[in-house]
């Protein structure tokens, strides 16, 4: 185990961001897997997407090309833009479905959705 560096020597590296993203992703996973309410599950999914965005941006920021070239590598940013787009679309449709499911089945409790059980 390496010694903990003093606060002056500490610099934020890619690993910090990746660890943070992993933590948030894990929390999102727990929420998405364990929550009963459909909206809460969606919250977990959004958190997971956010963590992924953070990872992508960190990679973009800490890539070697950033230092070398004059222009920043913005592919990661473009990727995040698409993720945001898809997240917005997904949220709209998923929430509409949650409301619809409530109208049909009078509940948003995911445990009660047993249509496939036959």
């Amino acid at each position: 185990m390496p010694p903990i560096p003093a606060i002056e020597d500490l610099s934020i590296t890619l690993a910090h961001y990746l660890g943070l993203a992993g933590t948030v992703f894990a929390i999102g996973t727990v929420i998405a897997l364990s929550k009963r309410n459909a909206v809460a599950v969606l919250m977990g999914v959004e958190l997971m997407l956010n963590a992924v965005n953070l990872t992508v941006l960190a990679f973009s920021r800490f890539s070697a090309a950033f230092e070398e070239g004059g222009s920043a590598p913005l592919e990661g940013h473009v990727f995040v833009v698409f993720v945001l787009t898809v997240a917005a679309a997904e949220a709209a449709v998923a929430l509409a479905m949650a409301v619809l499911v409530y109208r049909r089945r009078e509940t948003v409790d995911l445990d009660r959705f047993n249509l496939m059980r036959g």
Binding site: V39, A64, L84
Partner: protein, 170 residues
């Protein structure tokens, strides 16, 4: 910079945890928005100004409002934020996932640029670059994404209309 990173990450992780813990769905929603805002701050530390602001606009401003509507359209009884029986396996799986990611993050020798994440000099504009890329190399993907948004819009409208018809029949 260090302070900013740790404060923002602390805010993000703590609010994300509170989303899990909160009893009331609307409390969870409030914490979720806080988490989104912390995440936007983290984006800014990565000199992603456009993405940071877009994060605020889309997540904190719009998706949270969508969720508010979804919560309000469901009755009072289903506004709790309870967990299912899967909470223990889910936590185990997530813990494994987090440790795996952490292990990979620490263990890999990244070909990365060292130093402080945010200096003044490299906080350049990203908007023009993103715009060039979106309308240049990724034009097809951009168009597909716009079509996806359109279909999401139409899909939501169709769902709503079907719901209304079902309500009239009932």
């Amino acid at each position: 910079m260090i302070l900013a990173f740790f404060a923002l990450s602390g805010l993000t992780v703590a609010s994300a945890l509170l989303v899990f813990v909160a009893r009331n769905l609307l409390h969870a929603l409030a914490f979720l928005v806080l988490s989104f805002l912390g995440m936007a701050g983290l984006f800014l530390t990565l000199s992603a100004d456009f993405i940071g602001v877009a994060q605020v606009l889309i997540y904190a401003g719009s998706i949270s409002v969508l969720m508010v509507f979804a919560v309000m359209l469901t009755p009072l009884a289903s506004r709790n934020n309870g967990s299912t029986l899967y909470v223990i396996p889910a936590m185990l799986a997530a813990g494994g996932l987090a440790s795996l990611i952490g292990f990979v993050a620490i263990d890999t020798e990244w070909d990365e640029r060292k130093g402080e994440a945010l200096g003044v000099s490299d906080f350049t504009t990203t908007v023009a670059g993103i715009g060039d890329l979106l309308l240049g190399r990724y034009l097809l993907a951009f168009e597909v994404a716009s079509v996806l948004l359109l279909f999401a819009l139409l899909g939501a409208i169709v769902l709503v209309q079907e719901r209304r018809r079902a309500g009239e029949e009932a």
